[in-house]
Amino acid sequence: MIEVQDLTKSYGAVKAVDDVSFTVNKGEILGFLGPNGAGKTTTMRILTGYMPATSGTARVAGFDVFRDSMQVRRHIGYLPENPPVYPDMTVEAYLDFVARIKNVPAERRAVRIDDALRKTNLEDRRSELIKRLSRGYKQRVGIAQALVHDPDVIILDEPTVGLDPKQIIEVRNLIKGLAGNHTIILSTHILPEVSMTCDRVVIINKGKIAAVDTPQNLTSQLKGGQKIRIELEAPERRLREVLAQIPGASRVEVEPERTGERLVVTVEAAQGKDIRSDIAAKIVQNGWPLFELRGVSLSLEDIFLELTMEDATHAQPSS
């Protein structure tokens, strides 16, 4: 449905998107994961025909985004970072306007508007002015706008940003419900979001693709770098010796707890090994008071660290 080949976008000397290639199959949800300024928005803007690429090609529903821009725009629903709403309009009038400019025929407009309102749970707000809506509701109006012409491809730029946890869950379910009939690309900088909604993930950093895989593969691959956080009372030197004996434990970091004698230790476990029971056994053996021992899920920064380290250091030990 979407094919991106060697896409590059430069602003002067800065390359916002650098030689990016990926494809999205029909009915799939693709997550675009990366920190702010990674090139997510730029890539999406090129796909929607908002701006042209410096080089490379992108095709949506078989049409080139630059040469057949009008055709592409007919097949795309797009939610930019900020919902593009007119504050003086009511929700319904706004969706009617969007349906008109998206070329929805007059006889189908009312049905499409009702459908978009229902999917985004906005039915009871239809005649309210958009400026009176909360941030979360505005975001929903933005999503409704992207659905109103029933496009094949839906592109959502950070659809859950600024929403409260309950709304986030609603939006995620909404997106999952849209898959199958629609092909979806969404961007986010929240890791759990992609694992919960997406079929595949593109991790992008500094304009380059760092990894493309299913969330399951990515997390299992990254399980190797799982961290364990231990809070205990122990002599530091002895502790380091003991931990070093555990097979699979590496990168032991020790820092004193703010209040007193307690130590906070982070241990990184090797690929696919759960060393928590080993650590617990050692600590009990030595009779140290243990306050906490838990696995820390990797943050986005860790993943980037992991992915960039992979090229530099992880490759070397195996060779």
Binding site: G49, M51, P52, P80, Y86, M89, V98, I101, K102
Partner: protein, 261 residues
């Protein structure tokens, strides 16, 4: 052209749902009505003096009161148009850009020309709606004048006002498409309109450059209309002016894609 109509509808809705249109029309009518009174009283007073003078010299008076009122009133109208059009156009693109709704328009299957024309026609419509009630003052005067003033003078005057307004609206839309700041858009539009206005001063000069500058002044062509003369060269002038600035606006809107947002 479905896009043009959708944009036009949205713009008109924006004007009339918010208080903008009402404030605008109200203020414009208060000012024009006040000045119409002043002009009418002034011209009548002047005609009395002329009549007294002519009685002293024993000649019949040749002072045409309605024509004089018409000329003065349309002159005043042009000054008000100069002040009102920048405010009318300042938000046309600046606000869309600031709110990010330009991104919606530009990723929809609507051409830049449709966007620009839809917005231009909407501002021109509001301008026409604003102008229309002022005709009631003149119609009232024409009906009570003896001999009756020909209607075509009135129609020519309004045609001129519409063309002048349309030109300044096209100019203002273009300026608005260049900036995200409404205030800057208004001030630059006003300054640019004023500049084209004062090109008229070169009228007195007899050189070739003077003649060219005179042709470029928006106000000289307008004066033809207020005298009841519809000159083809003036029509061509205004149409070229409007087409030029609509073209420039289309280019400017298109260039937003290439600039860093």
């Amino acid at each position: 052209m479905h896009g043009l109509y959708a944009i036009y509808r949205k713009e008109m809705g924006h004007y009339f749902v918010s208080p903008i249109a009402y404030i605008f029309i109200g203020l414009f009518l208060i000012l024009t009505a006040f000045f119409f009174n002043v002009i009418l009283a002034g011209v009548i007073k002047q005609s009395f003096q002329m009549e007294m003078q002519s009685m002293q010299f024993g000649q019949p008076s040749s002072f045409d009161v309605p024509a004089a009122v018409l000329r003065d009133f349309f002159g005043l109208l042009s000054t008000l148009i100069l002040f009102f059009t920048p405010i009318l156009t300042m938000s046309v693109y600046a606000e869309e850009r600031k709110r990010g709704t330009m991104e919606l328009l530009m990723t929809s299957p609507v051409s830049e020309l449709e966007i620009v024309l839809g917005k231009f026609l909407a501002s021109l419509s509001l301008f026409a709606i604003m102008l229309l009630p002022t005709a009631s003052y003149l119609i009232f005067m024409v009906l009570h004048s003896e001999p009756m003033l020909p209607w075509r003078m009135l129609l020519a005057g309004y045609a001129g006002a519409l063309l002048l307004g349309g030109s300044l609206l096209a100019l203002g839309s273009f300026v608005s498409s260049l900036t995200e700041n409404q205030l800057i858009a208004a001030v630059i539009t006003f300054a640019a309109s004023l500049f084209i206005w004062v090109l008229d001063i070169a009228r007195s000069s007899d050189t070739g450059a003077g003649a060219v500058l005179q042709y470029l002044s928006v106000i000289r062509h307008y004066e033809d209309f207020t005298r009841g003369v519809i000159d083809t060269s003036s029509l061509i002038y205004y149409f070229s002016f409007i087409v030029l600035f609509i073209f420039l606006t289309v280019r400017s809107v298109d260039s937003m894609r290439w600039r860093r947002a």
